[in-house]
Protein backbone atom coordinates (compact mmCIF):
# COMPACT_ATOMS: atom_id res chain seq x y z
CA UNK A 1 0.00 0.00 0.00
CA UNK A 2 1.28 3.48 -0.86
CA UNK A 3 0.76 6.27 1.62
CA UNK A 4 1.33 9.99 0.97
CA UNK A 5 2.15 12.06 4.03
CA UNK A 6 2.56 15.81 4.02
CA UNK A 7 5.86 16.60 5.72
CA UNK A 8 8.01 19.57 6.68
CA UNK A 9 11.24 17.84 5.66
CA UNK A 10 12.35 15.00 3.43
CA UNK A 11 12.82 12.13 5.93
CA UNK A 12 10.69 9.97 8.20
CA UNK A 13 11.69 11.98 11.28
CA UNK A 14 10.20 15.14 9.77
CA UNK A 15 7.06 16.60 11.30
CA UNK A 16 3.78 15.95 9.55
CA UNK A 17 2.80 19.03 7.51
CA UNK A 18 -0.05 21.12 8.90
CA UNK A 19 -1.59 21.72 5.50
CA UNK A 20 -1.76 19.20 2.70
CA UNK A 21 -1.56 21.80 -0.09
CA UNK A 22 1.19 23.93 1.46
CA UNK A 23 3.61 21.58 3.24
CA UNK A 24 7.16 21.51 1.85
CA UNK A 25 7.28 17.81 0.94
CA UNK A 26 5.15 14.80 0.34
CA UNK A 27 6.64 11.53 1.49
CA UNK A 28 5.33 8.64 -0.56
CA UNK A 29 5.85 5.57 1.60
CA UNK A 30 5.39 1.89 0.81
CA UNK A 31 3.81 0.67 4.05
CA UNK A 32 5.16 -2.85 3.67
CA UNK A 33 8.82 -2.17 2.90
CA UNK A 34 8.89 1.34 4.42
CA UNK A 35 10.78 2.46 1.32
CA UNK A 36 9.94 6.09 0.66
CA UNK A 37 10.33 8.84 -1.85
CA UNK A 38 10.42 12.54 -0.85
CA UNK A 39 8.72 14.71 -3.43
CA UNK A 40 8.79 18.51 -3.19
CA UNK A 41 5.18 19.65 -2.90
CA UNK A 42 4.40 21.64 -6.07
CA UNK A 43 1.67 23.47 -4.14
CA UNK A 44 4.06 24.78 -1.48
CA UNK A 45 4.68 27.99 -3.42
CA UNK A 46 1.01 28.42 -4.27
CA UNK A 47 -0.15 30.92 -1.68
CA UNK A 48 -3.78 30.46 -2.70
CA UNK A 49 -3.51 27.00 -1.23
CA UNK A 50 -5.95 25.49 -3.71
CA UNK A 51 -3.98 22.26 -3.64
CA UNK A 52 -4.73 21.36 -7.25
CA UNK A 53 -1.10 20.61 -8.07
CA UNK A 54 -0.75 18.48 -4.96
CA UNK A 55 -3.93 16.57 -5.76
CA UNK A 56 -2.71 15.86 -9.30
CA UNK A 57 0.66 14.74 -7.95
CA UNK A 58 -0.89 12.36 -5.42
CA UNK A 59 -3.22 10.85 -8.02
CA UNK A 60 -0.34 10.37 -10.45
CA UNK A 61 1.71 8.55 -7.76
CA UNK A 62 -0.86 5.74 -7.38
CA UNK A 63 -1.36 6.53 -3.72
CA UNK A 64 -3.96 4.66 -1.62
CA UNK A 65 -4.04 6.86 1.47
CA UNK A 66 -3.22 10.47 2.35
CA UNK A 67 -2.22 11.38 5.92
CA UNK A 68 -2.02 15.07 6.81
CA UNK A 69 -2.84 17.78 9.32
CA UNK A 70 -5.49 19.66 7.37
CA UNK A 71 -6.89 19.37 3.86
CA UNK A 72 -9.51 21.52 2.12
CA UNK A 73 -12.89 19.94 1.50
CA UNK A 74 -12.49 20.39 -2.24
CA UNK A 75 -9.15 18.60 -2.37
CA UNK A 76 -10.48 15.88 -0.06
CA UNK A 77 -13.51 15.38 -2.28
CA UNK A 78 -11.34 15.00 -5.38
CA UNK A 79 -9.06 12.50 -3.67
CA UNK A 80 -12.00 10.51 -2.31
CA UNK A 81 -13.60 10.48 -5.75
CA UNK A 82 -10.45 8.79 -6.96
CA UNK A 83 -10.68 6.14 -4.28
CA UNK A 84 -7.96 7.66 -2.08
CA UNK A 85 -8.55 7.44 1.67
CA UNK A 86 -7.84 10.71 3.52
CA UNK A 87 -7.06 10.96 7.24
CA UNK A 88 -6.59 14.40 8.79
CA UNK A 89 -5.93 16.05 12.14
CA UNK A 90 -2.57 14.29 12.45
CA UNK A 91 0.54 15.60 14.17
CA UNK A 92 3.91 14.31 15.34
CA UNK A 93 6.66 12.87 13.19
CA UNK A 94 5.99 11.01 9.98
CA UNK A 95 7.40 7.78 11.48
CA UNK A 96 5.08 8.04 14.53
CA UNK A 97 2.00 8.69 12.43
CA UNK A 98 2.89 5.87 10.07
CA UNK A 99 3.31 3.48 12.98
CA UNK A 100 -0.11 4.44 14.36
CA UNK A 101 -1.63 4.03 10.93
CA UNK A 102 -0.11 0.58 10.47
CA UNK A 103 -1.42 -0.51 13.87
CA UNK A 104 -4.86 0.76 12.92
CA UNK A 105 -4.96 3.29 15.78
CA UNK A 106 -5.72 6.24 13.51
CA UNK A 107 -8.51 4.43 11.73
CA UNK A 108 -10.08 3.35 15.06
CA UNK A 109 -9.76 6.85 16.46
CA UNK A 110 -11.43 8.39 13.43
CA UNK A 111 -14.01 5.70 12.95
CA UNK A 112 -12.60 4.74 9.57
CA UNK A 113 -13.53 1.28 8.45
CA UNK A 114 -11.38 -0.06 5.66
CA UNK A 115 -13.43 -1.55 2.90
CA UNK A 116 -12.24 -4.90 1.66
CA UNK A 117 -10.67 -4.54 -1.76
CA UNK A 118 -13.23 -5.56 -4.30
CA UNK A 119 -12.25 -7.79 -7.11
CA UNK A 120 -14.24 -7.80 -10.30
CA UNK A 121 -17.07 -5.44 -11.13
CA UNK A 122 -19.10 -4.63 -8.08
CA UNK A 123 -21.07 -1.42 -7.77
CA UNK A 124 -21.45 -0.08 -4.27
CA UNK A 125 -24.29 2.22 -3.29
CA UNK A 126 -22.12 5.23 -2.50
CA UNK A 127 -20.41 5.05 -5.90
CA UNK A 128 -23.78 4.73 -7.62
CA UNK A 129 -25.23 7.72 -5.78
CA UNK A 130 -22.10 9.72 -6.56
CA UNK A 131 -22.23 8.75 -10.23
CA UNK A 132 -25.95 9.57 -10.38
CA UNK A 133 -25.32 12.97 -8.83
CA UNK A 134 -22.42 13.72 -11.20
CA UNK A 135 -24.44 12.65 -14.23
CA UNK A 136 -27.45 14.68 -13.11
CA UNK A 137 -25.18 17.72 -12.63
CA UNK A 138 -23.55 17.29 -16.04
CA UNK A 139 -26.96 16.83 -17.63
CA UNK A 140 -28.41 19.83 -15.81
CA UNK A 141 -25.46 21.96 -16.95
CA UNK A 142 -25.97 20.83 -20.51
CA UNK A 143 -29.74 21.34 -20.69
CA UNK A 144 -30.20 25.16 -20.56
CA UNK A 145 -27.97 25.74 -23.59
CA UNK A 146 -29.33 22.68 -25.39
CA UNK A 147 -32.95 23.80 -24.89
CA UNK A 148 -32.02 27.32 -26.00
CA UNK A 149 -30.32 26.00 -29.14
CA UNK A 150 -33.41 23.93 -29.99
CA UNK A 151 -35.66 26.97 -29.42
CA UNK A 152 -33.36 29.02 -31.63
CA UNK A 153 -33.54 26.34 -34.31
CA UNK A 154 -37.33 26.77 -34.18
CA UNK A 155 -36.94 30.49 -34.91
CA UNK A 156 -34.40 29.67 -37.60
CA UNK A 157 -36.87 27.25 -39.22
CA UNK A 158 -39.68 29.80 -39.07
CA UNK A 159 -37.75 32.70 -40.52
CA UNK A 160 -34.78 31.59 -42.58
CA UNK A 161 -35.48 30.50 -46.11
CA UNK A 162 -33.71 27.71 -47.94
CA UNK A 163 -32.59 30.27 -50.51
CA UNK A 164 -30.63 32.14 -47.86
CA UNK A 165 -28.98 28.94 -46.68
CA UNK A 166 -28.07 28.01 -50.24
CA UNK A 167 -26.53 31.44 -50.80
CA UNK A 168 -24.01 30.60 -48.05
CA UNK A 169 -23.66 26.85 -48.53
CA UNK A 170 -23.65 26.70 -52.30
CA UNK A 171 -22.89 23.02 -52.69
CA UNK A 172 -19.22 23.62 -53.53
CA UNK A 173 -17.37 20.96 -51.49
CA UNK A 174 -14.32 23.04 -50.58
CA UNK A 175 -16.20 26.26 -49.86
CA UNK A 176 -18.92 24.53 -47.87
CA UNK A 177 -16.31 22.75 -45.76
CA UNK A 178 -14.48 26.01 -45.10
CA UNK A 179 -17.72 27.75 -44.07
CA UNK A 180 -18.59 24.85 -41.79
CA UNK A 181 -15.14 24.94 -40.17
CA UNK A 182 -15.38 28.73 -39.70
CA UNK A 183 -18.77 28.36 -38.01
CA UNK A 184 -17.50 25.53 -35.80
CA UNK A 185 -14.42 27.55 -34.80
CA UNK A 186 -16.47 30.54 -33.67
CA UNK A 187 -19.23 28.64 -31.87
CA UNK A 188 -18.43 26.95 -28.61
CA UNK A 189 -20.11 24.82 -25.98
CA UNK A 190 -21.12 21.22 -25.58
CA UNK A 191 -20.68 19.33 -28.88
CA UNK A 192 -24.20 17.92 -28.57
CA UNK A 193 -25.37 21.33 -29.83
CA UNK A 194 -23.23 20.98 -32.95
CA UNK A 195 -24.87 17.61 -33.70
CA UNK A 196 -28.35 19.10 -33.37
CA UNK A 197 -27.50 22.18 -35.44
CA UNK A 198 -25.77 19.97 -38.02
CA UNK A 199 -28.70 17.57 -38.12
CA UNK A 200 -31.16 20.40 -38.74
CA UNK A 201 -28.93 21.99 -41.40
CA UNK A 202 -28.80 18.60 -43.11
CA UNK A 203 -32.59 18.68 -43.40
CA UNK A 204 -32.24 22.04 -45.11
CA UNK A 205 -30.08 20.35 -47.72
CA UNK A 206 -26.74 21.72 -46.52
CA UNK A 207 -23.96 19.38 -47.63
CA UNK A 208 -22.53 16.82 -45.23
CA UNK A 209 -19.07 18.27 -45.98
CA UNK A 210 -20.03 21.53 -44.29
CA UNK A 211 -21.76 19.83 -41.39
CA UNK A 212 -18.86 17.47 -40.75
CA UNK A 213 -16.27 20.23 -40.71
CA UNK A 214 -18.55 22.20 -38.37
CA UNK A 215 -18.83 19.26 -35.96
CA UNK A 216 -15.05 18.64 -35.91
CA UNK A 217 -14.03 22.29 -35.64
CA UNK A 218 -16.62 22.86 -32.88
CA UNK A 219 -14.50 20.81 -30.48
CA UNK A 220 -10.98 20.96 -31.90
CA UNK A 221 -10.78 24.66 -32.76
CA UNK A 222 -11.72 27.24 -30.16
CA UNK A 223 -11.45 30.93 -30.92
CA UNK A 224 -13.39 31.73 -27.74
CA UNK A 225 -11.05 29.61 -25.58
CA UNK A 226 -7.89 30.66 -27.45
CA UNK A 227 -6.77 33.27 -24.84
CA UNK A 228 -7.11 30.69 -22.06
CA UNK A 229 -5.22 28.09 -24.10
CA UNK A 230 -2.42 30.60 -24.81
CA UNK A 231 -2.07 31.36 -21.09
CA UNK A 232 -2.04 27.69 -20.10
CA UNK A 233 -0.05 26.04 -22.86
CA UNK A 234 1.86 28.81 -24.58
CA UNK A 235 1.21 31.09 -27.55
CA UNK A 236 2.91 29.06 -30.26
CA UNK A 237 1.33 25.79 -29.05
CA UNK A 238 -2.16 27.28 -29.01
CA UNK A 239 -1.85 29.07 -32.35
CA UNK A 240 -0.27 26.14 -34.20
CA UNK A 241 -2.65 23.59 -32.70
CA UNK A 242 -5.75 25.63 -33.59
CA UNK A 243 -4.51 26.46 -37.09
CA UNK A 244 -3.62 22.85 -37.89
CA UNK A 245 -6.90 21.62 -36.36
CA UNK A 246 -8.83 24.09 -38.53
CA UNK A 247 -7.16 22.85 -41.71
CA UNK A 248 -7.53 19.23 -40.69
CA UNK A 249 -11.22 19.67 -39.86
CA UNK A 250 -11.76 20.52 -43.52
CA UNK A 251 -9.61 17.65 -44.74
CA UNK A 252 -11.23 15.12 -42.38
CA UNK A 253 -14.70 16.32 -43.42
CA UNK A 254 -13.93 15.77 -47.08
CA UNK A 255 -12.33 12.35 -46.55
CA UNK A 256 -15.13 11.20 -44.22
CA UNK A 257 -17.90 12.10 -46.64
CA UNK A 258 -16.04 10.68 -49.65
CA UNK A 259 -15.49 7.37 -47.83
CA UNK A 260 -19.12 7.35 -46.66
CA UNK A 261 -20.32 7.85 -50.21
CA UNK A 262 -18.01 5.07 -51.43
CA UNK A 263 -19.36 2.66 -48.80
CA UNK A 264 -22.97 3.57 -49.46
CA UNK A 265 -22.36 3.37 -53.18
Amino acid sequence: MRIAISAEDRDLEARVGDRFGLSQYLLIVDSETMAFEAVPNPGASDQRGTGIQTVVLVISKNVNTVLTGYISQTAKRHLSTNGIEVLTGLYGTVAEVLEKYKKGDLQKHMGVVRKPESRGVKIDKVALVHALRSSANQFANLLPILVSVVLLIGIFNAFVSKELIYSIFSGNTALDSIWGACLGSILAGNPINSYIIGGELLEYGVSLFAITSLIIAWVTVGLVQLPAEIVALGRSFALVRNAVSFILSIAIAIITVVVLNLIKG
Binding site: H78, I145, A158, I192, I196, T220, A232, L260
Partner: protein
Protein backbone atom coordinates in the same frame (compact mmCIF):
# COMPACT_ATOMS: atom_id res chain seq x y z
CA UNK B 1 -13.17 15.55 -13.70
CA UNK B 2 -10.47 17.52 -12.02
CA UNK B 3 -11.20 21.19 -11.66
CA UNK B 4 -10.64 22.53 -8.18
CA UNK B 5 -12.28 25.81 -8.95
CA UNK B 6 -13.96 26.76 -5.74
CA UNK B 7 -11.25 28.99 -4.42
CA UNK B 8 -9.81 32.38 -5.20
CA UNK B 9 -9.85 33.86 -8.68
CA UNK B 10 -11.30 30.67 -10.12
CA UNK B 11 -14.48 31.38 -8.20
CA UNK B 12 -14.87 34.70 -10.05
CA UNK B 13 -14.24 32.87 -13.32
CA UNK B 14 -16.93 30.36 -12.42
CA UNK B 15 -19.42 33.15 -11.64
CA UNK B 16 -18.65 34.77 -14.98
CA UNK B 17 -19.20 31.43 -16.69
CA UNK B 18 -22.55 31.00 -14.95
CA UNK B 19 -23.54 34.49 -16.05
CA UNK B 20 -22.51 33.77 -19.63
CA UNK B 21 -24.33 30.43 -19.56
CA UNK B 22 -27.46 32.12 -18.29
CA UNK B 23 -27.21 34.98 -20.78
CA UNK B 24 -27.85 32.84 -23.85
CA UNK B 25 -31.05 31.11 -22.60
CA UNK B 26 -32.33 34.44 -21.26
CA UNK B 27 -31.73 36.08 -24.65
CA UNK B 28 -33.62 33.31 -26.45
CA UNK B 29 -36.56 33.70 -24.07
CA UNK B 30 -36.58 37.48 -24.65
CA UNK B 31 -36.59 36.89 -28.43
CA UNK B 32 -39.57 34.54 -28.05
CA UNK B 33 -41.33 37.09 -25.84
CA UNK B 34 -40.89 39.80 -28.47
CA UNK B 35 -41.94 37.43 -31.26
CA UNK B 36 -45.14 36.42 -29.46
CA UNK B 37 -45.97 40.11 -29.03
CA UNK B 38 -45.19 41.15 -32.59
CA UNK B 39 -45.70 38.03 -34.75
CA UNK B 40 -47.65 35.44 -32.75
CA UNK B 41 -48.19 33.18 -35.78
CA UNK B 42 -44.50 32.96 -36.59
CA UNK B 43 -43.65 32.50 -32.90
CA UNK B 44 -46.09 29.57 -32.64
CA UNK B 45 -44.59 28.09 -35.79
CA UNK B 46 -41.09 28.40 -34.28
CA UNK B 47 -42.23 26.79 -31.05
CA UNK B 48 -43.87 23.89 -32.92
CA UNK B 49 -40.73 23.40 -34.94
CA UNK B 50 -38.66 23.29 -31.73
CA UNK B 51 -41.11 20.76 -30.32
CA UNK B 52 -40.45 18.50 -33.31
CA UNK B 53 -36.71 18.72 -32.74
CA UNK B 54 -37.21 17.85 -29.06
CA UNK B 55 -39.29 14.82 -29.97
CA UNK B 56 -36.51 13.64 -32.27
CA UNK B 57 -33.83 13.85 -29.61
CA UNK B 58 -35.66 12.80 -26.46
CA UNK B 59 -34.83 9.08 -26.69
CA UNK B 60 -31.16 9.66 -27.68
CA UNK B 61 -30.93 12.17 -24.82
CA UNK B 62 -32.09 9.52 -22.39
CA UNK B 63 -29.40 7.19 -23.73
CA UNK B 64 -26.86 9.99 -23.33
CA UNK B 65 -27.77 10.19 -19.64
CA UNK B 66 -27.39 6.43 -19.21
CA UNK B 67 -23.98 6.50 -20.90
CA UNK B 68 -22.91 9.44 -18.72
CA UNK B 69 -23.93 7.45 -15.68
CA UNK B 70 -21.96 4.39 -16.78
CA UNK B 71 -18.86 6.48 -17.52
CA UNK B 72 -19.11 8.27 -14.19
CA UNK B 73 -19.56 4.98 -12.39
CA UNK B 74 -16.60 3.17 -13.87
CA UNK B 75 -14.17 5.90 -14.91
CA UNK B 76 -12.57 7.95 -12.19
CA UNK B 77 -10.65 11.13 -13.10
CA UNK B 78 -7.47 9.43 -11.93
CA UNK B 79 -7.75 6.98 -14.79
CA UNK B 80 -7.74 9.83 -17.28
CA UNK B 81 -4.90 11.65 -15.54
CA UNK B 82 -2.80 8.52 -15.44
CA UNK B 83 -3.29 7.84 -19.13
CA UNK B 84 -1.96 11.14 -20.47
CA UNK B 85 1.69 10.99 -21.26
CA UNK B 86 2.31 7.54 -19.86
CA UNK B 87 4.35 5.08 -21.82
CA UNK B 88 6.43 5.72 -24.87
CA UNK B 89 5.90 5.32 -28.59
CA UNK B 90 2.71 3.67 -29.77
CA UNK B 91 1.62 2.74 -26.23
CA UNK B 92 1.90 6.36 -25.07
CA UNK B 93 -0.11 7.53 -28.05
CA UNK B 94 -2.84 4.93 -27.53
CA UNK B 95 -3.14 5.82 -23.85
CA UNK B 96 -3.34 9.53 -24.64
CA UNK B 97 -5.97 8.94 -27.34
CA UNK B 98 -7.97 6.94 -24.79
CA UNK B 99 -7.64 9.72 -22.22
CA UNK B 100 -8.91 12.28 -24.74
CA UNK B 101 -11.89 10.12 -25.65
CA UNK B 102 -12.97 9.41 -22.08
CA UNK B 103 -12.30 12.91 -20.77
CA UNK B 104 -15.39 14.87 -19.87
CA UNK B 105 -16.16 18.43 -18.87
CA UNK B 106 -15.48 21.76 -20.55
CA UNK B 107 -12.04 22.28 -22.07
CA UNK B 108 -11.14 25.30 -19.92
CA UNK B 109 -11.39 23.10 -16.83
CA UNK B 110 -8.64 20.91 -18.31
CA UNK B 111 -6.13 23.68 -19.00
CA UNK B 112 -4.60 23.79 -15.47
CA UNK B 113 -4.03 20.05 -15.53
CA UNK B 114 -2.56 20.09 -19.04
CA UNK B 115 -0.28 22.95 -18.05
CA UNK B 116 0.85 20.87 -15.09
CA UNK B 117 1.56 17.89 -17.33
CA UNK B 118 3.38 20.08 -19.84
CA UNK B 119 5.61 21.44 -17.07
CA UNK B 120 6.29 17.90 -15.87
CA UNK B 121 7.65 17.07 -19.29
CA UNK B 122 4.72 15.60 -21.19
CA UNK B 123 5.43 16.51 -24.81
CA UNK B 124 3.35 19.01 -26.77
CA UNK B 125 2.39 16.37 -29.37
CA UNK B 126 0.67 14.25 -26.71
CA UNK B 127 -1.19 17.24 -25.31
CA UNK B 128 -2.34 18.15 -28.83
CA UNK B 129 -3.42 14.54 -29.42
CA UNK B 130 -5.36 14.58 -26.15
CA UNK B 131 -7.17 17.80 -27.14
CA UNK B 132 -7.92 16.45 -30.63
CA UNK B 133 -9.52 13.31 -29.26
CA UNK B 134 -11.89 15.29 -27.10
CA UNK B 135 -13.90 15.55 -30.34
CA UNK B 136 -14.82 11.88 -29.87
CA UNK B 137 -17.58 11.79 -27.28
CA UNK B 138 -18.75 8.26 -26.48
CA UNK B 139 -21.65 9.38 -24.31
CA UNK B 140 -23.01 11.65 -27.05
CA UNK B 141 -22.98 8.91 -29.69
CA UNK B 142 -26.75 8.21 -29.42
CA UNK B 143 -27.57 11.76 -30.55
CA UNK B 144 -25.01 11.68 -33.35
CA UNK B 145 -26.18 8.28 -34.58
CA UNK B 146 -29.81 9.41 -34.45
CA UNK B 147 -29.01 12.28 -36.81
CA UNK B 148 -26.33 10.87 -39.08
CA UNK B 149 -26.36 7.07 -38.84
CA UNK B 150 -23.79 4.75 -37.33
CA UNK B 151 -21.70 4.24 -40.47
CA UNK B 152 -21.03 7.97 -40.71
CA UNK B 153 -20.25 8.14 -36.98
CA UNK B 154 -17.85 5.22 -37.24
CA UNK B 155 -15.97 6.71 -40.22
CA UNK B 156 -15.85 10.16 -38.61
CA UNK B 157 -14.54 8.71 -35.35
CA UNK B 158 -11.75 6.83 -37.09
CA UNK B 159 -10.66 9.87 -39.11
CA UNK B 160 -10.95 12.18 -36.11
CA UNK B 161 -8.54 9.95 -34.18
CA UNK B 162 -6.17 9.75 -37.16
CA UNK B 163 -6.48 13.52 -37.60
CA UNK B 164 -5.53 14.09 -33.97
CA UNK B 165 -2.29 12.23 -34.65
CA UNK B 166 -1.69 14.60 -37.57
CA UNK B 167 -2.23 17.58 -35.28
CA UNK B 168 0.12 16.05 -32.71
CA UNK B 169 2.80 15.48 -35.33
CA UNK B 170 2.46 19.02 -36.72
CA UNK B 171 2.59 20.59 -33.26
CA UNK B 172 5.67 18.48 -32.48
CA UNK B 173 7.36 19.65 -35.67
CA UNK B 174 6.41 23.32 -35.44
CA UNK B 175 6.36 24.15 -31.72
CA UNK B 176 9.49 24.27 -29.60
CA UNK B 177 9.13 22.33 -26.36
CA UNK B 178 9.13 24.44 -23.16
CA UNK B 179 11.13 21.80 -21.35
CA UNK B 180 13.91 19.42 -22.25
CA UNK B 181 12.15 16.57 -20.48
CA UNK B 182 10.26 15.56 -23.58
CA UNK B 183 10.26 11.81 -23.19
CA UNK B 184 7.19 11.05 -25.21
CA UNK B 185 6.35 10.22 -28.83
Amino acid sequence: MISLDKDGPQSARRKRRVLLTGFFPASVLVIYGILFAVMPDKASMALRSSGHVFLNIIVPLFLVFILMLILNLFLKPAHTVKFIGKGVGIKGIILTVTAGIISIGPIFAWYPLLKELQEKGVGNPLIAIFLGNRAVKPFLLPIMIAYFGWIYVLILTVFTILGSLGVGYSVGALVKEKTSLSFHV
